[in-house]
Subunit: 534 residues, 2 copies
Amino acid sequence: MRATMMTTPLTVTPILRRAAKLFGDIEIVSRRPDKSLHRATYADFVAQSAQLAGALRKAGLQPGDRVATLMWNHVEHMAAYFGIPCAGGVLHTLNLRLHPDEIAYIANHAKDRFLLVDDCLLPLFAKFRAQVPFEKVIVVGNAPAGETSWAEFLATAPAGAEALAALPDLDENAPLGMCYTSGTTGKPKGVVYSHRSTVLHSMAVSMVDCLALSQRDTLLPVVPMFHANAWGIPYAAVMAGSKLVMPGPHLDPLSLLELMERERVTCAAGVPTIWAGILEQLEKQKRPLVPNCRMIVGGSAAPESMIRAFDALGLRVIHAWGMTETSPLGSVAHPRTTDTTTVDSAYAARARQGYPCPMIEIRAIGESGDEIAWDDHAQGELHVRGPWVAASYHERPDAGDRWTADGWFMTGDVVSISPTGSLRIVDRSKDVIKSGGEWISSVDLENALVAHPAVREAAVVAVPHPKWAERPLAVVVLKDGAAASADDLRTFLGEKFAKFQLPDAVVFVDAIPKTSTGKLLKSALRDRYADWKW
Amino acid sequence: MRATMMTTPLTVTPILRRAAKLFGDIEIVSRRPDKSLHRATYADFVAQSAQLAGALRKAGLQPGDRVATLMWNHVEHMAAYFGIPCAGGVLHTLNLRLHPDEIAYIANHAKDRFLLVDDCLLPLFAKFRAQVPFEKVIVVGNAPAGETSWAEFLATAPAGAEALAALPDLDENAPLGMCYTSGTTGKPKGVVYSHRSTVLHSMAVSMVDCLALSQRDTLLPVVPMFHANAWGIPYAAVMAGSKLVMPGPHLDPLSLLELMERERVTCAAGVPTIWAGILEQLEKQKRPLVPNCRMIVGGSAAPESMIRAFDALGLRVIHAWGMTETSPLGSVAHPRTTDTTTVDSAYAARARQGYPCPMIEIRAIGESGDEIAWDDHAQGELHVRGPWVAASYHERPDAGDRWTADGWFMTGDVVSISPTGSLRIVDRSKDVIKSGGEWISSVDLENALVAHPAVREAAVVAVPHPKWAERPLAVVVLKDGAAASADDLRTFLGEKFAKFQLPDAVVFVDAIPKTSTGKLLKSALRDRYADWKW
């Protein structure tokens, strides 16, 4: 017997077509480099997407060819997100925060043929242009003499309904886009998303117990579109028909706050560092923000103190976990009814990494090689599998050790799991501190430290120790005008941690080095303090 | 270039596996025939599902074999929904409201091998048992001597984690279940859902702008599990981990109200007839129902008057449209921000059939054969396509005329479409009244009639007329103790309709014949009044 259902391919093309018909009047607002606001509609965005697809094919784009973007978040980047894959090409978002040599390595490894670049990023592009043989470069914004502008390039192809109707039929397993992980060790590795994985991820992202995106939302992706697909928001937003507010290059707290208020943002998404700056600003101004706004926090763990502080301002933090290799959404910390019996238990539930998304399966493997018990105590490395999880890296047969023989992706995160399946990331496996046979979680210490009123940021790293193998060292940035001594902080931590877990030393610094995606760059700190004398 | 993502098959088996790990403590409450409440957990339900799968395979079930159910909504039916397809079988839900001969025809056409039947439905089964060569019959509840009980049958296979681990790997395009349409003309026709179509439908059902199902919901599917998969709620609920409340055979307003209050239902789903009875009861008792409950209404149009009346009681009606051929969810009437500029426009938006679900594409073809304009005025037959829409009927090559050459399903519904894509069903194409070259919508007249305080139910049908070809005749059931004359009703309608649209006659009756799924059986009325003398 055979099923009688349509086997419509899961590609983003029907999502674009549907948006054209249903959401033509919905706005996409983009902050330009000069801080002005550019207002477009979905009708404009769909027209640009379809015309870009036509222009790329006219310029010789073949199925599977890579088109790189070096751009901030704005409406033209949205058109690239759809226009490139709808033409059969592969959207390759270059991370503009990497070193120019690394960007060149990635563009060459991916064999990018074309580049779309923001005018304000031309100085960065100049630093690696000679290293990458792009066949064609298209400049968004003001194109200098001799360069092709976005408008000129689009004008090479038909516009309007004709362009949309001309989009090719695609296989759902065809590649759609790629991202390189900004790993702190080894060469960056690429993940190639398919149309199918992206459509399924978009549906999951929109579900109530995930990010709950709706047509009635106004979304502000602060997370850059070159960072793990801006967490899937661009595709999910067009599926839902949400209004989009794009911050461009202006990610400082005051610019973001102004945008959130002016455009009545209902849902913003970004890494904790961004929200910490906004929180400090709001506390300084002693005022709440826009009402009914939720803030999706991911990329690094959001400390419970931050969640509580935002609640006091009427903003609901939603804590999510994911990786470039998981498209990225893997889990979301919406408390279940059983998690909310007390105020403290509800906050504790929200500070975890939460429950795996529908269709995502999890397990954790302990040091013995067996699955750990889901008792919230045992620790092991998190493994995941599901329809939007990577099965390999692009052209890196040497990097196959991240997958088990039975088909799970090994995340490198050490977790414990509650009896009902809520994840808590104890540490990155390479960041955990191994002291005299005991494991100490650097993440727990960091989250506790930033709850101290004087602390803005903290990193805890393992430093070699003659007796204990490793001991924790805390690196702390104080808030402007605030004061705290090493002893103050150790006493503060002593309320929550056993004595052996406390950092033996605290170093005060002006800034902590970060990765290109805003995570603490602990490998740099480990190097810096490798010769520490206890 | 190839995508690097996992191509995890979209089957319901991982959904069951995930529910076992995450939602073991969540309840499934079932009303038994004796009105007692049976309480089980997801852990029980998953165990029964896996054991049923094992028992069916042990009994000789081969991939694609059909297993029929003749059951009300309860936890064992839930176990059948998962256990049968997870064993590789095909769940065939028999509609117990059909004539026994028709049930027999359907079971034979589907070639059902096994039957699961409720003890309270054995008298119905006795009426057609001789006509269908079921190889094995399993009785849920008290099995009479000589029959196999559910518990006995399950005990033939291993229980526990072993049963879950033994579930076979399945292809995502494998058949999962089937439903026959209860068409009012011709032999019933079967739709065979695949695992893939069901998983995608479940994800869509759960999305915010569809039914917004969540782990924090307590769901009451009043819609029977033999009626278009209970609108996909069983699968979507297990994906979300929602508490389920199952009414068994007790669908009277008082039983349902008691269940909704006792179990704190947050979301109930059923046809308008069910809600009309509940509304009458609540108005009689002059009290509101459980707070924060939403009611999903589908199967037939929900009149605006009903939506307003429930709002006054604090209950939010969500109007949805679908068909057996669309799994069934096709569209949902969540108003967009632009629909809610006035109270009246918001109600008008909610009384439409609403916006197509993500991944569902729509068009409407007018009498000329061209697509109609989306101007909310032009009318045409609704066509749909998408990954959970049927592409044919099971073994009915003669019934291929419901699909266009370019791959759209022709719904048989006459619609108009708003400029932003909101559907309004004007009529079934066979129910529209063609009077002197003009079309009159029977649905519009019916919705207006039930807004009259004395009217409980109304049907409007075309009756042959010597001069105008057809003219509308209204068939009306008054509320208990209420009075209204034909002239009263015509005057009432005259406020909203042109004179030529008003029914020429009104017939008062005690009851209107209905289809097995609660829809007005207008073909019977047309037959009854075919010789009407004007």
